[in-house]
Amino acid sequence: MSIRTPLARARGLGSAKSGTRHWWLQRVTALALIPLAVWFIVGVVVLGAADHAAAVAWIGHPVSAVLLILAIGFGFWHGQLGLQVVIEDYVHGEGCRIALMLAMKGAALLLAVAGILSVLRVALGGAV
C-alpha cells in the first residue's frame, strides 16, 4: 500500500507519463514547419529535375542551407513526437512498445544527423 496521496500520484502523469510538454512541443514544431514546408515545396518545384550542379548550388546557398537544416531538424523532431503517440496508441505489449520506441527515436536521430551533415558538407564545399 502506498502512502502517497492520490493527487501526488496523478500529478504530471498523463497516458504518456509526462505532462503537457509533449503536446506543446508538437504545436511549436508544427508552427515552425508551416513556413518551412511552404518554402521547401516552392524550392523543390522550382529546382525541378535539376542536375547535380544546380541542386548543389541550391542546397549550398547560405539561405537555403540554413532553412534546410531547420526544416530537417523541426521535421524529424515533429515526426518523432507524432510517431511516439502512434506507437503509444497501438502497441500494447510493454517490451515491444519500448523496443519500437527506441528504434524509431534512434532512426529519426540518425536520419536527421545524416541529412544535416549532408547539407553542411554541400554548403561548406566538401561535395564535388
Binding site: 508544427a30 518545384v45 502512434v86 564535388v128
Partner: protein, 130 residues
C-alpha cells in the same frame, strides 16, 4: 463476457464513418507517410553531398513511375497534413469547434489539399518541361 472482451468505443465495425473522423485518421496516416518519406529526402541530400553519380541514381529513381507515384503521394500527404494541421492549430486556439464549422473547415481542407497538390505538379511539370 469477460471485461477485456467487451467492444470498445469507437467500435469501428459498426461505426458509420463521418467526414470529421475520416479526416482525423487521414491526418495520422499522412503523418506516418511523411515520416517515411523523409527517408527519401535524406537519401536525396546524402546523394547530393556524395557526388554527381550518386545524385543521378536518385534522380533516375525519382523520375521513374514508382518514384513519381511516391513523390505524388508525398506531395499530397504534405499538403493535406499542412492544411489539416492549421485546422488543428485553430482548434487548439479555441476556434471552429461548432459542428457546422468543423464540417466547413473539413471540406475546405479536402479541397485545398487537392488543389495545392495539383498546382505543385502542374507548375513542376511546366518548370521541368516534360
Amino acid at each position: 463476457m469477460a471485461a477485456d472482451e467487451r467492444p470498445l468505443s469507437p467500435h469501428l465495425e459498426v461505426y458509420r464513418p463521418q467526414l470529421t473522423s475520416v479526416l482525423s485518421i487521414v491526418h495520422r496516416g499522412t503523418g506516418v507517410a511523411l515520416a517515411a518519406g523523409m527517408v527519401l529526402l535524406v537519401w536525396w541530400l546524402l546523394a547530393a553531398a556524395a557526388g554527381p553519380e550518386a545524385f543521378a541514381a536518385v534522380q533516375w529513381f525519382n523520375g521513374s513511375i514508382v518514384g513519381r507515384l511516391l513523390l505524388l503521394g508525398f506531395t499530397f500527404a504534405l499538403c493535406y497534413h499542412l492544411c489539416n494541421g492549421v485546422r488543428h492549430l485553430f482548434w487548439d486556439a479555441g476556434y471552429g469547434f461548432a459542428i457546422p464549422d468543423a464540417y466547413r473547415s473539413g471540406w475546405l481542407v479536402v479541397a485545398a489539399s487537392a488543389l495545392l497538390t495539383l498546382l505543385v505538379w502542374i507548375v513542376g511539370y511546366a518548370v521541368r518541361g516534360s
